[in-house]
Structure formats: structure tokens, C-alpha cells
């Protein structure tokens, strides 16, 4: 890679692609201050009015609350089940190992509409349940297990079993060993997996539309339903701008956590 021209071309192309990546996000930010209710560019004047309106939008606030609650519950379930699965597959070479991995990845590997309609059908037709808060949590937890599982498994592969053996040698039972030895070694992997699970759940809309029912609204569903209403468009713009700003938080946390951002993202989907 010593050709100066090739390097210049690559640099220019990278610059153009990144520009195209960030321009729409900047547009969202600017539009949240737009006096006008349409997307007409350039905006005639800027105002803070819509931010004030959005802060008092009870619909958006309630939806945000639901989203956070769903994401917390789904993450808690995913952390439990993902850790158990990760521990179970540690150093085991039984025939079903690949089947288990596949089963964990499947809810995220299949297109969202498939997972969504499968769960919708199971909840409504097969189990006769009303769609609502609980069905969203179950659906989200199902596709969030994989992020925790991936992180736990990757960490366990790098850990030598000698510490846990020493713990058992000193008379600790398996639960004490887990609490005092295994868990502390897993902690940052669990944080990373939990962070991804939370982000995945918080952002999800496809599976959610199929499992939410008419009464519960997560924030993405609220945005989606208000997107086409001209009256609500300015508030949607503000919420969108806030979400773009919030996306810096997980990046910052992931950086603090490991400095290894690529492996974190690989589990993102």
C-alpha cells in the first residue's frame, strides 16, 4: 500500500462515505430547531419552541418510560439465561453444542418479520394471550439472549479453569465459587452484553409492532405512529434528535469498558 495515488483515492472515498453517513443525522438535529413543520431546506428560522413542546408531550414521555422498563426487564432475563447458556457450553463438547448455539442466534438471524409474526401467532392464536407489556418483554428477551451469550462465551474461552479449581479445592461449593470467583471475572463481559441487550431492546421496532398490541407503546412505536401526522412532526423531530445524541452514551461506555469496540459491535446484531 505504498502508492500515494491509491491512498489519496481511498482517503477521499472514506471521507465521502462518512459525510453521507453523518449528513442525515445532522439534518435530524437541525430540523428539531426548524420553525417550519415541513422538511423544506434550508429552514426559514430556528427556534427552541419544539423542544419545549416535546418536553411536555405526555405520549412521548410515557412511551419512553415503557421502553426503559421493557429494556431493563428484557436485559435482566437475557443476562440470566445468556450467562447460564454460556456457562453450560463451557469446555463441553457434546453433540448438541452447535444446535444450542444456533437456537440462541436464530431469533436475531432470521428476518425481524419472521420472528415477529411467529411470536404474534404463538401469543394470540396458540396461547390465546392479549398482546401487551408482558408479550413485548418476552419477545425482546428472546432475541437479546444472544448478545449476553456471545460476550460470556468469549470471556470464558479466555479464562483458565485453574482459579475455579483452586476455589473448589479450598472447599467452596459451586455457588460460592460462582459468586466469589467466576462472577467477578465475568463482570465486564456481562456489562458489555447487558449494554448491547439494552440497546437492542430499546431500539427494536419490527418484532415490537407484532407483539405490542394496541395499548402499549414503546418509544420507537410512538415515533412510528406519529411520523406521518403533520401536527406531531416537530415533536418527532425533537425526539429523533435526542435519540441521535443519546447514541454517544453506549459508545462512550463501550470505550471505557474494554477499548475493544469492534467486538462489542459484532454482537449488536
Amino acid at each position: 500500500m505504498n502508492d500515494g495515488r491509491l491512498k489519496a483515492v481511498l482517503r477521499a472515498l472514506t471521507g465521502v462515505v462518512l459525510l453521507v453517513v453523518y449528513v442525515p443525522l445532522l439534518l435530524v438535529m437541525v430540523n428539531s430547531f426548524n420553525v417550519d413543520r415541513t422538511f423544506t431546506w434550508p429552514p426559514p428560522r430556528l427556534t427552541l419552541h419544539w423542544w419545549n413542546v416535546a418536553a411536555h408531550s405526555s405520549g412521548a414521555r410515557h412511551a419512553l418510560l415503557v421502553s426503559v422498563e421493557v429494556a431493563l426487564l428484557a436485559t435482566a432475563i437475557a443476562l440470566t439465561l445468556g450467562t447460564l447458556a454460556g456457562l453450560a457450553l463451557r469446555r463441553t463438547r457434546f453433540f448438541g453444542r452447535n444446535v444450542v448455539s444456533l437456537l440462541i442466534i436464530l431469533p436475531i438471524a432470521l428476518p425481524g418479520i419472521v420472528t415477529g409474526i411467529a411470536l404474534n401467532n404463538a401469543f394470540r392464536t396458540m396461547l390465546g394471550l392479549e398482546l401487551g407489556f408482558l408479550t413485548i418483554v418476552v419477545a425482546h428477551a428472546t432475541f437479546c439472549i444472544v448478545t449476553v451469550f456471545n460476550n460470556v462465551q468469549a470471556r470464558l474461552q479466555r479464562l483458565a479453569p485453574s482459579l475455579e479449581q483452586a476455589s473448589a479445592d479450598l472447599g467452596a461449593g459451586p455457588f460460592t465459587t460462582f459468586r466469589l470467583v467466576t462472577f467477578p471475572m465475568l463482570r465486564s463481559a456481562l456489562l458489555a452484553g447487558g449494554l448491547l441487550a439494552f440497546g437492542l431492546s430499546f431500539d427494536e421496532i419490527v418484532v415490537t409492532t407484532f407483539t405490542a398490541g394496541p395499548t402499549e407503546q414503546t418509544l420507537p412505536i410512538w415515533i412510528f405512529q406519529n411520523l406521518f401526522r403533520p401536527n406531531q412532526a416537530p415533536v418527532v423531530n425533537v425526539v429523533a434528535a435526542v435519540l441521535v445524541l443519546l447514541s454517544a452514551i453506549p459508545i462512550y461506555l463501550a470505550q471505557r469498558l474494554s477499548g475493544d469496540v469492534v467486538s462489542g459491535a459484532a454482537g449488536a446484531h
Partner: protein
């Protein structure tokens, strides 16, 4: 299986509370696996099976109730009614186009990140590529609604050059999908290229190949499995999408919109279930093909 050393240890310390768990690796594995497998088996695998079963049931046209009568009618409709066939092929075509666009855009970026940028620049670029991944998917699709709108940013930028926004439609959908999934293509190619030692490029240069020849004969073949790995994401995600097409697609229909309409307003779950199997079958074929290139190992 627990190592034999651990078994000896467990035996040596004698029986105690919980020793059953540490002694028998198989039992331990089984107990640990039980909750997650129960969850995934009941909540997911059963749901998928039920979906398949439902697609073989029929719908009463008058009452809208599902009748548990076995039939292949839903699948026959998919093939016989030209509209659905067109929509299926159109969806696959758009997913393929999105994948090609993403591969073309991602390759130079990934190559620059992996082999040209300084270590500091590389770290910043990785963050720059990751950031939009965390920004809400819905917000990104919505952002493009603003870009494509009449008198919007694209119109404004293109005006001096006589370029107009394509408006809401399938072109807008393709561009938006390519935008949404681009990071999923950049990151695997970047990871794949980073693993290739620089000495290979030097060797190619020493043997008389120019930079472009090296690019074509050395870099591209080595990056290919990573491109295939990335394409699994871009292809699968595009196949199942119905949000982006609803937001920027105008009246355009894809598999996702038809499935969604049949679960909701049209309320024909058996037909929706049958149509939803199309992307699953396409993905299974695609994964089988990808497996042959060795791309799955580089995921």
C-alpha cells in the same frame, strides 16, 4: 465435560453440599442449559413451528376466523397471483442491490481503516462507523424521509446540477436500506483486512505488481470471505425490512409490508405466515451458499 483433574479434586474433598453439581459435568451442563433451552424452546422454537402449521391452515373468508383445515392454498396463492410473485422477486432484487451497493461503499472505507490510517486515525474511524449503529434505526430511516422530501436537502444540493430527489419510492427505499446496513458491511471487511499481514502486500509489490494489481489480485480475493460475511447481514436485514419501505417507499410494496398488512388490517394470518417463509427459505439457501466460501468462520 469437566476435566479429569476437577473430578479428582471433587472426589478428594469428599461429599459436600452441591458436590453433585461439580462431580457430574453432564448433569451440570444439563441443569445450566435447562432454563435457557426451555425459554427458547417454548417461546421461540414452538412459535416457529406453530407459524409453519398456521401457514398450512385456511381462513374463513366471511368470519375471518382461522379454520384448522390442512391446505397448501396459501402457498399456491403466493405463486399463482402475479402480484405476490412480483413482490417476492422485487424484495430479493432490492436486497441483492443493497448488498452490492454496501460492498462497493464499504470496501474502500474498510481498506483505508485497516491499512492506510494511522493507529489513532483507525480508532477514531471505528468509532465514527460504530456511532450511527447505535443511533436509532427508526430515526435513521426518518432522517432519509427528510432528505428525500420535496424541497428537502437533496433537492437543494442537487438544484445547481439539475438533480431532483427521486421522491418516496423504491429508489429511496434502496438508498435508505443501503445506508442503514452499511456499518454491518464495513466492520467485517475491516476485521478481515486487518488480519492480513502487510508483508503480503509488500511481497506483491516486490514481485513487480503495481498498487492496483495488488489490490485486484491480492487484497480483493483475501477480503472476499469478509464481504460474504457482511452480505449475510445486509441481505437478511433488507429481506425482512418493512419499516424503511413504509417511511420512504411511498406506495412501494415489499414482502415485509404484505406480511404486516396481513397480520394487521387484512387479518389473514395463515397467508402472512406462508409469505413469511419466503425470506426464511431464501436466507437458508443464501447461508448454505455462503458456507461454501468459508465466510461463516469469519463472522
Amino acid at each position: 465435560m469437566t476435566s479429569s483433574a476437577a473430578q479428582t479434586l471433587a472426589g478428594a474433598t469428599g461429599p459436600r453440599r452441591g458436590s453433585l453439581l461439580s462431580r457430574s459435568g453432564g448433569l451440570r451442563t444439563g441443569l445450566l442449559l435447562l432454563p435457557p433451552m426451555l425459554w427458547l424452546g417454548v417461546a421461540y422454537l414452538a412459535a416457529l413451528g406453530a407459524l409453519l402449521v398456521t401457514s398450512l391452515w385456511s381462513q374463513n373468508d366471511f368470519t375471518g376466523d382461522i379454520e384448522r383445515i390442512w391446505t397448501f392454498d396459501n402457498y399456491r396463492q403466493l405463486w399463482d397471483i402475479p402480484v405476490y410473485r412480483t413482490i417476492a422477486f422485487r424484495t430479493i432484487g432490492i436486497a441483492a442491490l443493497v448488498t452490492v451497493i454496501d460492498a462497493l461503499l464499504a470496501f474502500p472505507v474498510a481498506l483505508y481503516m485497516a491499512k492506510v490510517a494511522s493507529p489513532r486515525g483507525r480508532r477514531l474511524l471505528v468509532i465514527a462507523v460504530l456511532m450511527p449503529l447505535w443511533a436509532s434505526y427508526l430515526v435513521k430511516a426518518y432522517a432519509w424521509r427528510g432528505m428525500f422530501s420535496e424541497g428537502g436537502l437533496i433537492d437543494w444540493v442537487g438544484k445547481p446540477f439539475g438533480i431532483h430527489s427521486p421522491g418516496y419510492g423504491l429508489v429511496a427505499t434502496t438508498i435508505t436500506l443501503a445506508y442503514l446496513w452499511l456499518p454491518y458491511m464495513i466492520l467485517p471487511i475491516y476485521a478481515g483486512l486487518e488480519r492480513v499481514p502487510d508483508s503480503l502486500f509488500e511481497a506483491s509489490g516486490d514481485l513487480g505488481a503495481g498498487a492496483w494489481t495488488t489490490l485486484r489480485r491480492v487484497v480483493l480475493p483475501m477480503a472476499f470471505p469478509a464481504v460474504v460475511a457482511g452480505s449475510i447481514f445486509t441481505f437478511s436485514l433488507s429481506l425482512g425490512d418493512y419499516i424503511a419501505v413504509t417511511i420512504v417507499g411511498g406506495a412501494g410494496q415489499l414482502i415485509g409490508t404484505v406480511v404486516y398488512a396481513n397480520v394487521g388490517t387484512a387479518n389473514n394470518l395463515p397467508f402472512a405466515a406462508a409469505f413469511a417463509t419466503v425470506p426464511v427459505v431464501v436466507m437458508l439457501v443464501y447461508l448454505a451458499a455462503a458456507r461454501r466460501t468459508g465466510a461463516l468462520e469469519s463472522l
